[in-house]
Symmetry: C2
DNA sequence: CCTATGTATTGACAAACGTGATTTCAATAG
DNA sequence: CTATTGAAATCACGTTTGTCAATACATAGG
């Protein structure tokens, strides 16, 4: 696995230009990037984005039985998307009797919103 | 394939509650949702999110050769992520000699940023 | 021309994703 | 208890994704 000894730097830089500024560091720590990306990924599907939009605009909690008919999808599929949103911490749910009500957790979007602006 | 004739609505609503408010509509049109989701999806990977972060913070254009060593990834993989960002309209690129320089297109994030807040 | 260098594309592959059919769970009504 | 109903979980499927190795492409220098 020994790599060739660096005999000569050769030309290294083709033109005289130094290519770019000194060095660049991502000053969004990996951890933060992962949190942000997790949120973005959850919003990275049109259905889920609309789900969040509906829930946000509605302020209150919305029943799954109202959400399903809005999308031309099976109930299990909508349920699946809601689960993804739950896992990303974007929405919460609450059961009342037979029905399940979903709502957006506003703080979950704050960090992302701030990073974006 | 004929479904049973609907003999009787049966109980229909278990409790007396009407389940929830009248009806809810997604007032983010499908088209807009798809645009927003496309941006979110592109940001939905930690590497790409950090790439955008670096490019944004840097204001100017950054050479690929500076970006690659920031991530513990092969050059083709970084190139692949940059392509995804390009396809989503989030970044642009420019060749100068041998090098390629990338930059964020700020307007590309505006709609998403507004929707989010 | 030929060689070296920075970047992009291709091919391959495992992992994750989006979806629907089917089944399971939980809770209510009788 | 049994039957019904809303929601979630499971299974199966084709598609997309992230990654690297290898290759191709473009440009600059000899």
């Amino acid at each position: 696995m020994a790599v060739d000894l660096e005999l000569a730097p050769k030309t290294k830089r083709a033109a005289g230009e130094p290519c770019c500024e000194p060095v660049v560091y991502p000053d969004v720590a990996r951890e933060q990037a992962e949190r942000l990306a997790m949120v973005a990924k959850a919003l990275g599907d049109p259905i889920r984005l609309q789900l969040v939009d509906v829930l946000r605009k509605h302020a209150g909690k919305v029943c799954v039985c109202e959400l399903v008919p809005l999308f031309d999808l099976s109930q299990p599929t909508v349920s699946h998307h809601l689960k993804k949103l739950r896992e990303a911490g974007i929405v919460g749910s609450e059961r009342r009797g037979l029905w399940a009500y979903y709502y957006v957790i506003p703080e979950s979007l704050e960090e992302f919103s701030e990073w974006l602006s």
